[in-house]
């Protein structure tokens, strides 16, 4: 059995505002009434656990996983790597990390995406991996293109990779996005700007990591992720009122 102590409460102020008129779709898709807050229960403190046999050898390589190695995706080759930790700074090992992204031209392989940029026959756009014992993970992929989207008349998404992370408790579940250092569209994106705390936005911007890049092959970007932690529970495991 893994640790099942209570989760630290989520600090809602470090997350985006659910309702943000500049991101138009959020207007009708944000609850109007307050959330019901309680201490976590076993329902939130447990969660699905995955094992390494789930992961195929090419799953974390988006350059080749769509063709199963028969062809290479078009674009600038990059390695995205980092560590998954909790709020106490403890590594989160063996947790599932899934990513999805547009191709190098900014087009998703999706029936709803009708942008002019062509599909890449060698690029699917998803990958997954399990963190190691020290919480680290890595993907090989191509740098996704920026793309326009219907919001205001001329809104563009900065280059980004969508991330889904599980942790070890259902209450740690998180979906976020990674941006790239130096992209001028980050400061112009209403979805980025749903996060009101500027220092929190910076935490989604992966720095170029030349030390972990490989000459004549790929550039590296470093993206660390922090999930909710668990409280210390000493002297708490007794019936209420005692």
């Amino acid at each position: 059995m893994t640790d099942t102590a209570p989760l630290m409460p989520r600090r809602r102020e470090v997350h985006p505002d659910p309702y943000d008129p500049a991101y138009k779709t959020s207007v009708t898709r944000s609850p109007k009434l307050p959330l019901l807050a309680l201490e976590s229960t076993p329902t939130e403190e447990t969660g699905p656990l995955f094992t390494h046999d789930l992961i195929g050898p090419l799953d974390n390589n988006l350059i080749v996983n769509f063709t199963q190695g028969k062809g290479l995706a078009v674009g600038e080759r990059i390695r995205v790597h980092g560590k998954v930790m909790d709020e106490q700074g403890r590594p989160v090992p063996n947790t599932l990390v899934e990513i999805w992204q547009a191709n190098a031209g900014g087009r998703y392989r999706h029936i709803k995406d009708t942008y002019f940029a062509p599909l890449d026959p060698n690029f699917g756009g998803c990958g997954r991996t399990l963190t190691d014992e020290d919480g680290s993970y890595e993907f090989m992929t191509v740098r996704p293109g920026a793309y326009p989207w219907p919001n205001r008349a001329n809104d563009w998404r900065p280059m980004h990779i969508h991330f889904s992370i599980f942790g070890h408790a259902f209450g740690q579940r998180l979906i976020s996005q990674m941006y790239f250092e130096g992209d001028p569209l980050i400061a112009r994106c209403p979805i980025v700007e749903t996060i009101k705390d500027r220092s929190q936005i910076e935490r989604l911007v992966a720095p170029l990591d030349m030390q972990n890049s490989r000459g004549m092959d790929y550039l590296a970007y470093r993206f660390d992720i922090v999930l909710r932690g668990r409280r210390q529970t000493r002297f708490e495991n007794k019936l209420e009122g005692m």
């Binding site: 076993p42 329902t43 990513i99 392989r109 889904s164 979906i175 976020s176 980025v192 495991n237």
Partner: protein
């Protein structure tokens, strides 16, 4: 200045966007051949103990439109109220399922076993329930809620008891229709707004 607290800050959430299916349920998005199958297509395997149930419904935005692009995850205990990994848990119950709103009708369907009651750390019994997490374009932080079942005794449930506006309790309770299928709709806004959770 006092000593700093040695606590990191959680990575901020961002919307899952319109293409969440590519990353989480690629076959649903028409992308086959990368993984053998989508993750967690069912929370149970053949032979799971307990009553097999089906829950169906839609998620409605603030205009009353059934959203076609939402993705759901469910997490639950087995029929005896044990989560996977706990002593004696049913090995045929993974407890975790991913499913999507239908792209034409907006309706979702979850087939599972009815979970048992679960005891809290304080010794209270939570009535049988399934935890639901919802993401979609326009949802900036994934929404948590629960599905309870109409026939159970909810009088001592610690979560439902905390809902001050009693009529809102019904937004968390699935009711069987005449086909024997539990109906559970989610409403992001309006008179029927679902109780969403922060726990």
């Amino acid at each position: 200045m006092p000593q700093p607290l040695d606590i990191l800050v959680e990575t901020p959430s961002q919307t899952a966007g319109p293409y969440v299916h590519i990353g989480c349920i690629p076959s649903f998005a028409g992308i086959d051949g990368i993984y053998p199958q989508d993750l967690a297509e069912s929370p149970i395997a053949d032979g799971a103990k307990g009553e097999i149930i089906t829950i169906s419904g839609s998620i409605y935005d603030g205009t009353g439109w059934a959203m076609r692009d939402a993705m759901f995850e469910s997490w639950q205990a087995d029929a005896a109220g044990r989560y996977p990994g706990m002593d004696g848990a049913d090995p045929k119950v993974s407890g975790f399922c991913r499913f999507a709103a239908d792209k034409d009708s907006g309706e979702y369907t979850l087939r599972t076993v009815k979970p048992g009651a679960v005891q809290t750390r304080q010794g209270q019994w939570m009535a049988p329930h399934i935890s639901i997490w919802i993401v979609a374009r326009g949802i900036n932080v994934g929404l948590s809620t629960r599905i309870y079942f109409a026939e159970d005794d909810h009088s001592a449930d610690p979560l439902l008891s905390r809902i001050e506006h009693r009529p809102r309790v019904d937004t968390l309770i699935a009711v069987k229709d005449d086909q024997g299928i539990y109906r559970q709709d989610f409403h992001l806004q309006g008179d029927l707004e679902t109780v969403f959770l922060d726990l």
